[in-house]
């Protein structure tokens, strides 16, 4: 799929360089000549958007680290110093804080897209698993980043999340002490979280390189789930995908800018503007929105260890989706039953998120239990069985046929594309 580079340098200096390190040729074959399926829709622009968000977070984060002080007596004030004293510090901090949320919005859409169109199926299992690893790293990074402002939510979020590990028998308490570097969340914890928060994004960038590499080996999936069979099924990455991705990014940035400039604290918690106090826990302690579904699962299970295992299991199960889905048909477009179950599952995820933001009492807990069971049933029961019992719709013979069939059956390509448009 990736094909050989057709890049042939003209300039003698570039020729000289290219014969020693074919860097420009690599970029050319990966992002210019690279064939992309001609039917990719806007859900496919989120890969590019995610790359953009990673760069955005690293750039704004490096700048924030120039002004931030990772010490319990200074951290909170240094964040306020960034907001008040540093030139455009308020903007850069809000970019970073809201950027994290935007990053997760994009990654969830990216994951839902992959699940709907069967992008995890052979031969894309490794691509999918690398994506799951990136997601895990993102969660760890975001968690540690949220601790750094050293507000009440930072402190108690860190306390609760690190205490999850105390659920493990025998070694649990020791693990937690080692995570803390002490007997409670304290300066040692803050220092190591700062160090790791700076490190992990670069590890994410490394896994992203592997993710893109794996993508370019097996090729992109597409809404039909049918592999490109002839050159007619693909278009060159540039200009087609670059322009489409670019447009998607601009629209996404407008959405981002709306949060940034109009409701920069909407996704945060007011309690985090109170300096950390190890002696008083806030009345309602809630994690950031992107953890809420998992938080709901944690609280749905009445057993401490069980809750922790359920929560981690909800992510671990994603790694096995390529083998849990037994259907021969890749794309959800041609799977009438899967399609319905998929959307039910999406609603369940959102429902769990909503429950995660509610207090753990009464009906909320019962609803949380039902939805948690359904979440796992979707992967462990529904997906395997659907492949056996579902009768899929006819899959088109090729991407081209699927695209042109919408207008004029299997009409010749050129007539099919231009005819409807010239009628105005």
């Amino acid at each position: 799929m990736s094909g050989h580079s057709t890049f042939e340098p003209k300039h003698p200096a570039l020729k000289w360089f290219e014969s020693r390190l074919p860097l420009v040729g690599l970029i050319h074959s990966s992002f210019v000549a690279y064939p992309t399926p001609r039917n990719l829709n806007y859900w496919w622009t989120f890969g590019g958007i995610l790359s953009l968000m990673l760069v955005c977070q690293i750039v704004s984060g490096v700048v924030l680290a120039m002004h931030y002080t990772p010490h319990i007596t200074l951290a909170f004030d240094s964040v306020e110093h960034i907001m008040r004293d540093v030139s455009y510090g308020w903007l850069i901090r809000y970019i970073h804080a809201n950027g994290a949320s935007m990053f997760f919005i994009a990654v969830y859409i990216h994951m839902f897209r992959g699940l709907y169109y069967g992008s995890y199926k052979a031969p894309r299992e490794v691509l999918w698993i690398l994506g799951c690893i990136i997601y895990l790293l993102m969660m760890a990074t975001a968690f540690m980043g949220y601790v750094l402002p050293w507000g009440q939510m930072s402190f108690w979020g860190a306390t609760v999340i690190t205490n999850l590990f105390s659920a493990f028998p025998v070694v649990g308490p020791t693990i937690v002490e080692w995570l803390w570097g002490g007997f409670s969340v304290d300066n040692a914890t803050l220092n190591r979280f700062f160090s790791l928060h700076y490190l992990l994004p670069f590890m994410i960038a490394g896994v992203v390189v592997l993710h893109v590499w794996a993508l370019h080996v097996v090729g992109q999936n597409n809404p039909t789930g049918v592999e490109p069979k002839s050159p007619k099924d693909t278009v060159p990455f540039t200009p087609y995908a670059t322009i489409k991705d670019g447009f998607g990014m601009v629209c996404f940035l407008i959405f981002f800018a709306w949060f940034l400039f109009y409701i920069p604290n909407y996704l945060g918690h007011a309690d985090n503007y109170i300096p950390a106090n190890p002696l008083v826990t806030p009345a309602h302690i809630v994690p950031e929105w992107y953890y809420l579904p998992f938080y709901a699962m944690l609280r749905a299970v009445p057993d401490k260890l069980g809750g922790v295992l359920t929560m981690f299991g909800a992510i671990i199960v994603l790694f096995f989706v390529p083998w849990l889905d037994t259907s021969k048909v890749r794309s959800g477009v041609y799977r009438p039953l899967f399609k319905q179950f998929f959307w039910i599952w999406v609603v369940v995820c959102i429902g769990l998120g909503w429950l995660g933001s509610k207090p753990a009492e009464g009906g909320y807990v019962i609803a949380g239990r039902i939805l948690t069971i359904y979440y796992f049933a979707h992967f462990l029961i529904i997906l395997p069985l659907l492949g056996l019992f579902e009768k899929p719709k006819a899959v088109p013979a090729s991407i081209t046929e699927a695209v042109l069939g919408k207008n004029k059956g299997a009409a010749p390509a050129s007539a099919g594309v231009s005819a409807p448009q010239t009628k105005g």
């Binding site: 120039m66 004293d85 030139s87 594309v417 231009s418 105005g424």
Partner: protein
């Protein structure tokens, strides 16, 4: 394929909303206007216009989009550059007041102003006399380097010492060679000696032996009263 696509796009522009009207007395001769004007007459001529004109509507959109993108990128880059400048908390500490009553005659104290050492020296009669006797021609740097005076003021002792308070000498304690802090009351000229590379300064803080190229700088300061100065 490519041409057909362009045709299709232009074709779909609603007739009534074309930007250039037919009444225009002197139509512009560039392809953009041409394409738009012919476009208002009917779709048959559009194909010819977009194929033959030197500049097409698409070129215009392409450049306009690129220009907007460049402006946006520049606007985004600026905050990331701007954050490097001294922030408000640093600028807020840009003046330092020194009480002179506690400095005895002959005593030299070091105060901090904007993170730099500033020497405040209560000079003796002998120090002042030595500085006054020195001819300008004997100096390596004949310029006063006094931020409170004109840039070309000569390096006389009057121009170096405090205005109306000639026993006070206030200089930034950073050797003008490579930034070390010179040692006071030492060196052949009774002023300062820099331990890094051996520069020597006299009792008015003027460089007398290299490698330092210029006299010790005098910071902007003023006498708030006879016993208090405000630096910065």
């Amino acid at each position: 394929m490519q041409l057909e696509a362009i045709e299709g796009r232009v074709d779909r522009v609603p007739r009534g909303r074309l930007p250039v009207s037919r009444e225009r007395s002197t139509p512009r001769r560039d392809g953009l206007a041409e394409a738009a004007v012919t476009g208002s007459r009917g779709k048959e001529t559009i194909v010819a216009a977009t194929e033959t004109a030197g500049t097409t509507r698409r070129d215009f959109l392409y450049i306009a989009t690129g220009a907007m993108g460049a402006v946006g990128a520049a606007a985004l880059v600026w905050p990331f550059v701007s954050q490097l400048q001294p922030d408000a908390s640093v600028l807020a500490m840009s003046t330092t007041e020194v009480d002179l009553t506690s400095i005895a005659e002959g005593q030299m104290v070091t105060v901090k102003w904007r993170g730099k050492p500033v020497f405040v020296w209560n000079r003796t009669e002998k120090d002042i006399a030595e500085a006054k006797e020195t001819q300008l021609s004997a100096l390596l740097d004949p310029i006063a380097r006094n931020a409170n005076l004109a840039a070309d003021a000569p390096a006389t002792d009057e121009n170096r010492a405090g205005e109306g308070h000639e026993k006070w000498l206030v200089v930034i304690g950073i050797c003008t060679h490579l930034g070390c802090v010179p040692i006071g009351h030492s060196g052949e000229y009774d002023g300062w000696f820099c331990p890094c590379h051996g520069s020597e300064y006299d009792t008015a803080g003027r460089v007398r032996r290299g490698p330092a190229p210029t006299n010790l700088d005098i910071p902007p300061y003023q006498f708030v009263s006879d016993t208090k100065i405000s630096i910065g």
